[in-house]
Symmetry: C2
C-alpha cells in the first residue's frame, strides 16, 4: 500500500477505522474456506459516502477492494485473492426499520442474521433464509451469496425476499434499486442481479427485505433407513405427495459414524437418517402433513420412525443434523464443505456417486443436506499438510462437480462460486452465458476493482 | 419492408409463416392497451434457430423485432412502436415436460397459462402466478412482464418461479441461463434479469418453471364496508395477524355501481368489498385462518360478512371481483387499466388520492385489486374520441403516478412499463439506475433491434 493511498484512505474513514497491522491483515487473509491471501489494508467504513470515496480512490490508484461481512464464506468469497483493501462492513449494523404491516425490514449489510430474527420475533414474523452460520453471518453476506438454509424447499432463498437495495457502484455512484412494494414490474430487476453477485458488481449498503408471518406450530419426525436408496425414494415420494415440508434433511452413515466417534451421542449408524418438519397454524394441519411424511417413511422401509411429542424432543431429533458441521470441522486440520444441488429425482444418483468417489480416492465423504430441495453438503475433513491427501481431495471434488453437472445439477446451491468453484464455472455455464456475465462485470467495473478473481469473471 | 428483407425472412420461416397482409398488420398493430402502431410484417417462427437467424438479419438490415404472445398487454408491451417485424410465438406452444418429483415444468413461450394449469391439475400441482388473462395469455408474456395475479401475497410472482431460460440474444447467439435445481447461487442471475425485461434484451424460447403442490382446501369469505377507511384498516390488521391469506381482494364502490349499471347482479353499493381466501390441507387450518380474517372484518365495522359453505357459494362471492374487468371494458370505447403498487400501509392513502383525482378531473375511477400485496387496478372507461376527456384521463394518470411514487410505491405491480409508463420511469428510478438499465440494454442490443421504444431505455 503506497503512503499516499494509505493517507487518502485514512482521510476518508479516520485513523481509528484503518489498519495495516500484520495481525489484522492475517485475520483478514481468510474466511471459513481453505483459501488464503493477505490484503494490504483493511477499513471499517460507516456510510455509503465513505464507501463511494474509497471506490473512487481505488479506481484512481488501482487497488482491489473486497467487501466483507462476518467472513463465514465456505467458498473463499471474502478472501482478497489479489490483495488490496478489505472493506469490513461490521460498523454498518443497524436495523433501520421493521414494518409488519408493510412486511418489510430495512437493514444495513452488517446486521447479523440472528439479530434480525430477534427483532422480528416479538411480532411473530421471520426472515426465512436461515444460513447454518446465522448466529454470526451478516445479511450483506446473505445477499452476496443468495443464502438458502433448511427452509428453502417451502420458503425459497434470499433472492425471493430482497425487494430493494442501496448500492455503491464500483465507480462510486450510489444507486437505489427495486421498491418497497410486495410486487413490482418496473424496469430491469437490478436488485436480483446484485443478489448472489458476491460483491463483484457493487457494495450493498442498505437492504430492504420482505418478511413473513411465522406459522405458530411445527411437527417433527425422524426416520432411520438401513438402505440409502429407500431414503432417496422416500424423499421423492414426499415431493409427490402434495405437501411441502418446512424442512426435510438428510444425514448419511459416514456423518453418523463421524459424530459417534467424536461425541457421546451414540447415534444409530444406519445408511441414512431423514428429519422432516411441517408447519402451520393448527395442530391438525401440521399433523396431517407429518402423517403423510411418516406413512411414506414407513412404506419405504424406515427401520424406525420417531415423532417428537414436545419441543425438547424435536430439538433432540435435530441433534445429528445440527452437530455434523461442528464435528466435521474438528476432525482434522482442513475441511472442504461442498454445496452441490441436483434435481430432486437425482438425489439417489448423487449419493451413489459420492460413495463411489470416496472409495476411488480413499476418502471419507460424509454428507448432510437439504433433501427437500436437492441441496447436499458433502464434507471432507482432511490433512491439509499431506500433499497426497490434498491432491486426492482436489481430484475427488473435480470429478464430483463433473458428475453434478452431468446430472443436471448446479455447482452451488447456497454458498456461491467465490474462489472454490471458479475453475468449474465453464462446466455449468455455456460460453455465451460466461461471455454475458463477463460483459456485465466489465460494464459495471471496467478496472476490475471489486473482489477480483472470483466467479471466473476474468476469463 | 424492403424486398430483399422480405425474401430473407421467408427463406428463414417459410412462405406460410410470413405475412404482410394489411388485415394481419392491423391486428398486430395493437394489444389490450390503447396504444397502436402498425408493423411492416409478422412471422411465426418455430425454433430458436429461426429466431436467431431473424435477429441476425435484423441487425444486418436494421429493422425492429417485437416478440409477441397473446397480445394481452395492458401497457403496450407488444405494440411495434417503431414498426418492423412482429415475432409471434404462437407456434412455440409445447409443454416440453412436467416432472412432479423435480417440481419442474419446462415449456415453450407460446404455451397458454391455462393449458399449463390443465397439465398440472392431475398431479395436484399448480403454477401460482395466475394473470387475470390466464385463459389466453401465454407464459412467455408471464416472463416478459413478471406477471403476478391474485395469489401474489402468499405465493409471490413469476420471478419467484422461473428457474432457467433458453434465450436468443439480440445478436442471434443462443444462451442457457439458470439451472433445473430448486436452489442455485452459481454466477450472476441472468435468468431474473430477463424476467420482466419486456422482450428488450432477448427472445425467450424455453422456460423452466418451479411448480407447487396445490393445497387441497380453501375457505372464502366476503365482507362489505360502508366506510373505505375501515376496509383499509382491516387489510392492515390482517397483515399483522400472523396469517397470510392466499387471496385478499378489494372492490370499490365505483366498481360496484358500474357492475350494477351493466348487469343484473344487484350488488350492495357499499364503499368497499373485501374478499379473502385461505388455503391449507385441513379444514381446521383454512377455518382457523379465515376466523382470524372474519374477526378482523367485524372489528373494523364490516356491515355484512358472509362465509361460503360450498364451492358454488365461494364462486358467487368472487362474482363482483371477477366481473369487474369485463364490465369496465364494455362501458365505453377506451379503457385505461392502471397497475400501481404501494406499501400495504399506504393502501388507504392511495384510495383517498384516487377519489380526490376522480373529483378533480370529473372522471369515474373504479378500483379493484390485490389488497393483500398493495397492488391496485384503478380502471378508467372513457370516450377516446373526446379530446377533452382524453386529456383529463392523461392528467389524472400523470398525477396518480406522482402520488404513487410519493407514497413509496411503484408504477407497475404486474403489467410492466411498456409504452404506457415509459414517460414516468424517471419518477421511480434515480438517474444512476436509469443509466445502468440503459447501459445493460446497450450492451445486449447495441443496434436497439429488440422491442424499441419501451421502458424509456432510449434516454
Amino acid at each position: 500500500m503506497e503512503d499516499k493511498t494509505k493517507k487518502a484512505l485514512i482521510d476518508i474513514v479516520g485513523e481509528e477505522n484503518y489498519t495495516d497491522n500484520l495481525i489484522d491483515l492475517i485475520s483478514y487473509s481468510k474466511d471459513a474456506s481453505e483459501h488464503r491471501h493477505r490484503p494490504d489494508a483493511a477499513v471499517w467504513p460507516a456510510t455509503a459516502e465513505e464507501i463511494s470515496a474509497i471506490l473512487k480512490l481505488a479506481n484512481k490508484d488501482r487497488f482491489p477492494v473486497v467487501p466483507r461481512g462476518a467472513g463465514t464464506s465456505l467458498a473463499g468469497l471474502a478472501v482478497p485473492e489479489k490483495g488490496g483493501v478489505i472493506l469490513d462492513l461490521v460498523r454498518m449494523n443497524k436495523i433501520i426499520s421493521v414494518s409488519v404491516t408493510d412486511r418489510l425490514a430495512i437493514v444495513q449489510p452488517g446486521v447479523v442474521y440472528a439479530d434480525l430474527e430477534r427483532a422480528l420475533a416479538p411480532h411473530d414474523f421471520f426472515f426465512p433464509p436461515d444460513p447454518a452460520s446465522g448466529t454470526v453471518a451478516t445479511l450483506g453476506g446473505n445477499v452476496a451469496t443468495n443464502a438458502g438454509g433448511i427452509k428453502g424447499a417451502k420458503y425459497g432463498t434470499t433472492k425471493d425476499y430482497v425487494l430493494a437495495l442501496q448500492i455503491v457502484l464500483p465507480d462510486g455512484r450510489v444507486m437505489r434499486t427495486g421498491s418497497k412494494c410486495m410486487k413490482s414490474s418496473s424496469g430491469y430487476d437490478l436488485t436480483k442481479l446484485f443478489v448472489g453477485s458476491e460483491g463483484t458488481l457493487g457494495v450493498v449498503t442498505e437492504i430492504t427485505l420482505k418478511i413473513n408471518p411465522k406459522p405458530s406450530l411445527t411437527s417433527t419426525a425422524m426416520a432411520t433407513f438401513e438402505d440409502l436408496e429407500d431414503a432417496g425414494r422416500a424423499v421423492s415420494e414426499i415431493m409427490h405427495s402434495g405437501i411441502l415440508p418446512s424442512a426435510l434433511e438428510v444425514v448419511d452413515q459416514q456423518t453418523l459414524i463421524a459424530i459417534n466417534q467424536n461425541t457421546d451421542l451414540n447415534l444409530p449408524e444406519v445408511e441414512a437418517i431423514l428429519i422432516a418438519e411441517t408447519d402451520g397454524h393448527t395442530r391438525e394441519e401440521t399433523q396431517f402433513q407429518l402423517n403423510k411424511v411418516i406413512e411414506i417413511f414407513k412404506k419405504n422401509n424406515a427401520s424406525t420412525v420417531k415423532q417428537a411429542a414436545t419441543k425438547e424432543e424435536a430439538e433432540a431429533l435435530w441433534t445429528a443434523r445440527k452437530s455434523a458441521y461442528a464435528v466435521m470441522s474438528r476432525i482434522n486440520n482442513s475441511l472442504a464443505v461442498e454445496d452441490l444441488s441436483v434435481p430432486m429425482s437425482k438425489v439417489p444418483n448423487i449419493l451413489k456417486a459420492l460413495s463411489d468417489l470416496a472409495k476411488k480416492y480413499d476418502l471419507k465423504i460424509p454428507t448432510v443436506g437439504h433433501a427437500g430441495d436437492g441441496n447436499l453438503h458433502p464434507t471432507i475433513s482432511y490433512d491439509g499438510t499431506n500433499p497426497d491427501e490434498v491432491k486426492r481431495v482436489e481430484q475427488a471434488s473435480a470429478e464430483l462437480f463433473e458428475k453434478v453437472i452431468e446430472l443436471g445439477g448446479t455447482l452451488t446451491g447456497e454458498h456461491g462460486i467465490g474462489l472454490a468453484k471458479a475453475p468449474f464455472m465453464h462446466l455449468e455455464h455455456d460460453p455465451v452465458a460466461m461471455d454475458v456475465m463477463r460483459s456485465i462485470k466489465k460494464s459495471f467495473d471496467p478496472n476490475n476493482i471489486l473482489n477480483p478473481g472470483k466467479m471466473a469473471l476474468e476469463g
